[in-house]
């Protein structure tokens, strides 16, 4: 078995344990809080019998570990229970809303990498010049406001005052695209509707950028710091003394080693996006998990809350495994010897 495969297996194993932990944590929080979920779900007009029946169906009267046992048994069959809010299986609800959120995050993540990393590299290469100063201030500003503030400001500037981008939504009403994957950018292409694709892409720019801004700032700051660390290493002096071009030193010789410590944190920024997406979606009326999530939270819809958190955590763990793979890819020490640092 190659070291990389072994690494993935190991990470998968650990992730599974963590996921079980997450489910226990969120399950416990959901069950120990005051208030009767059955009563809330049925509303104040329900009879005591109806409430009792629902409690019975949800196993609410049994001991916590037993309840958890039921939950895990169902989960093993891909069943997260029924949402008390929509009366549909939680898995179906999530499957409906998740793609829009993922699309947004994917776009924002791409922006974070494509804008944040080059900014960090430039900042380090032109350290202590005006280039560096500007990039540092801009990236710190990016980190310093929650994404809903950026969303509001961007919307005001580029949708209202300068009406370049659409104000809200994922796609203009004039287009109808059959849902296949739920990812509009994929579905429009599958339908061969290039104009709809363009329209969908146009809709995603502002929300994705608002979501990406703090990640861009974080990535730029981190890349700068780690690049400067690397610049002090002997192998960079060696590269300079051999007259390797400065640009090549920045983009290859210093960048690649400095990414090894950066990547883990960038993975965490990705995770933060999973949460921040809620804020941006609310501003841009993006039909993703946000509205559903907030609605089920306000209604104490246990199954839906547990399901949503679990799915989001699973996403996060997947991102982490991908990050670990990337690190193994650029760090030959891990790739070749499987010695995790």
């Amino acid at each position: 078995m190659s070291p990389v495969v072994r690494l993935v297996m190991k990470r998968l194993g650990v992730s599974l344990i963590v996921l079980v932990g997450v489910s226990m944590l969120i399950f416990t929080i959901a069950r120990v809080i005051p208030g009767d979920p059955a009563r809330i779900a049925l509303g104040p007009n329900a009879t005591a019998e109806q409430v009792a029946a629902l409690r019975e169906r949800l196993h609410l009267d049994e001991a916590l570990p037993v309840q958890y046992g039921h939950f895990i048994a169902d989960l093993a069959q891909g069943d997260l229970g029924v949402s008390l809010y929509t009366n549909r299986p939680v898995t179906r609800d999530i499957a409906q809303f998740l793609p829009a959120t993922l699309e947004l995050i994917f776009f924002a993540g791409t922006m974070m990498i494509l804008i944040g990393l080059p900014l960090g590299v430039l900042s380090a290469r032109y350290r202590d010049t005006w280039v560096d100063g500007t990039i540092r201030v801009v990236s710190l500003l990016g980190v310093s406001a929650p994404s809903f503030v950026w969303a509001v400001i961007l919307m005001l500037l580029f949708a209202f005052f300068l009406p370049i981008f659409p104000i809200a939504g994922r796609l203009a009403d004039s287009f109808t695209v059959p849902a296949v994957t739920g990812f509009l950018l994929v579905d429009t292409l599958l339908a061969g509707n290039v104009r709809a694709f363009g329209n969908a892409a146009w809709h995603i720019v502002l929300p994705a950028f608002a979501l990406a801004l703090s990640g861009i700032g974080q990535a730029a700051r981190l890349t700068r710091a780690n690049m400067i660390d690397t610049y002090n290493k002997p192998f960079i002096e060696m590269a300079r003394s051999y007259g390797f071009p400065e640009r090549r030193i920045a983009n290859r010789y210093a960048f690649r080693p400095s990414m090894i410590p950066s990547l883990t944190i960038i993975g965490l920024d990705f995770a933060a996006m999973l949460g921040n997406a809620f804020l941006v979606e609310a501003v841009f009326a993006w039909p993703g998990l946000s509205r559903y999530g907030v609605a089920v939270i306000l209604r104490k819809d246990l199954n839906a809350i547990v399901g949503t958190v679990l799915v989001i955590s699973a996403m996060f763990l997947i991102v982490n495994i991908i990050v670990d793979l990337l690190i193994a890819f650029i760090n030959p020490r891990i790739r070749l010897s499987q010695r995790t640092s």
């Binding site: 002997p234 192998f235 002096e237 051999y242 007259g243 080693p257 030959p332 070749l336």
Partner: protein
């Protein structure tokens, strides 16, 4: 008589910052002729390493560095070169070997990739296969038994001694006329260091390369150099042929260094009483070692 490969005359260096000015070099003069092996010996902080970095043009990138004096490389004043022209010399006409070979090689690239980059300094459009073949030859010249394996390895997979040989091969790859060796192999085992120094000596002799050998270790210098400059606190205090200088050290600082030799086990220099006036006595030049005239 042709001009020396490297001629340094009255070189000054100071670092100026918010907190004032720190003088590092107080006007040192050094010359190295073609094929000559010249050592610059002194304790750490004496200004040896900065001298090397000024010759390569690396320190000029530091904005706080104030540099004065003449440095001529093959008769050409490098201060008159554009940064681009100076850059063109690095890695081609002059190259450098560092203290710790393993950390001087990039940890995330294979030796072959790094070697290719070095060879590209000499022949910018060199083909990949050609570069690898040439690199293998050069490694073989450095008594590396299986160059192919070394080329496909990462630095962390090789021993310090092997990495040092790789560094030597890289340094000589483009047939430079000047090689600067900054405490080469100090980070290595004493025996490994001795082997690689012997190898380096053979190779530079074969290629007729001039060497500026920077060290704090007089024992090593005695084995390697033709001529020695002793540097102390930014001043050259004594200069002579290796044999003369070792037979008859005249400057008190040189004598103190010599006395310290038997005690050097880990490579360090014992505390020497702080600068008394005698240590700051003017330079002592041994017979036949005058600095050459500089054409105005």
């Amino acid at each position: 008589m042709t001009s020396p490969t490297l001629l340094i005359r009255d070189l000054h260096l100071a670092f100026g910052g918010y907190s004032g000015r720190v003088e590092v070099l107080h006007g040192i003069s050094i010359h190295i002729r073609q094929g000559e092996r010249v050592a610059l010996v002194g304790e750490s902080g004496s200004g040896k390493s900065v001298t090397a970095r000024i010759v390569l043009g690396l320190l000029q990138m530091t904005r706080t560095a104030r540099i004065g004096g003449l440095i001529a490389f093959e008769g050409q004043d490098i201060a008159k070169l554009t940064p681009r022209q100076h850059h063109r010399l690095r890695g081609t006409k002059m190259s450098m070997i560092f203290q710790d070979p393993t950390s001087s090689l990039n940890p995330v690239y294979r030796i072959s990739e790094q070697f290719r980059e070095v060879l590209r300094r000499g022949v910018p459009d060199i083909e990949r296969t050609e570069a690898d073949a040439r690199a293998a030859d050069l490694l073989a010249d450095c008594s590396i038994g299986d160059p192919e394996r070394v080329l496909t390895s990462y630095p962390f997979q090789l021993s310090g001694g092997l990495n040092q040989r790789v560094m030597i091969a890289m340094a000589l790859a483009n047939e430079p006329s000047l090689l600067i060796a900054d405490e080469p192999g100090t980070a290595l085992d004493v025996t490994v260091q001795a082997q690689t120094l012997k190898l380096m000596r053979e190779l530079v002799a074969r290629h007729d390369t001039a060497v500026l050998f920077i060290s704090h270790n007089l024992g090593v210098v005695r084995e390697f150099a033709d001529r020695v400059y002793v540097i102390y606190k930014g001043r050259i205090v004594e200069h002579g042929r290796t044999a003369d200088l070792f037979d008859d050290p005249r400057h008190p600082y040189t004598r103190a260094l010599m006395d310290a030799i038997p005690r050097i086990t880990g490579g360090g220099i014992p505390e020497i009483a702080d600068a008394s006036d005698t240590y700051l006595a003017p330079i002592i030049v041994h017979e036949g070692c005058a600095e050459p005239e500089v054409a105005p």
